[in-house]
Amino acid sequence: MNLALDIFTVSAVSAGALFFLAGTVGLLRFPDSLTRLHALTKVDNLGLGLVVLGLLPQTNGLFGALKLVSIWLLVQLSGAIVTQLIAGTVRRRGSNG
């Protein structure tokens, strides 16, 4: 049982870390600010989500797990809104900023 949970943690956290890497590659390769914003929001949010998912079995108790999930929700929600603000700034100035 413990081993199964550990395997779950290792695979989910690894997947999350890979998404962070992919997000960075996107920031490096994408041609303009707005496409880079896509990379930052969607990929990194998924990365954090997978890391949180992987850490859930390692927390003590239901509420510890809930705390991690609520941090992820907070990041996801504010990230979704802040990204639109930055995107609006980019659009008003033209894509090259």
Binding site: F20, T24, R36, L48, V51, G79, V82, L85, I86, G97
Partner: protein
Amino acid sequence: MISFLLGAAGFVLMTVALALVVILRRPAEVDHMMAAQLLGTGGGAILLLLATATETPPIVDVALLLALFASFAAVAFVRSAPGQESEV
């Protein structure tokens, strides 16, 4: 398990560092504004991994504040970006 979580934290730190270098070296100011958001997600992931690896639950609170203030900082950046006041 502990060394795996630490390794993962180190890996995420490396990707965040690379992304910061990429973002802050670009000339466009809007790219710089993404830095705070990057630390909200990446820094949050690093702290949560550290909290579990070192079994120190209060570190989770640091991640919480980091998330809150990263988005606050991003709003402040957008608000005070140069050229904003000319568009009222």
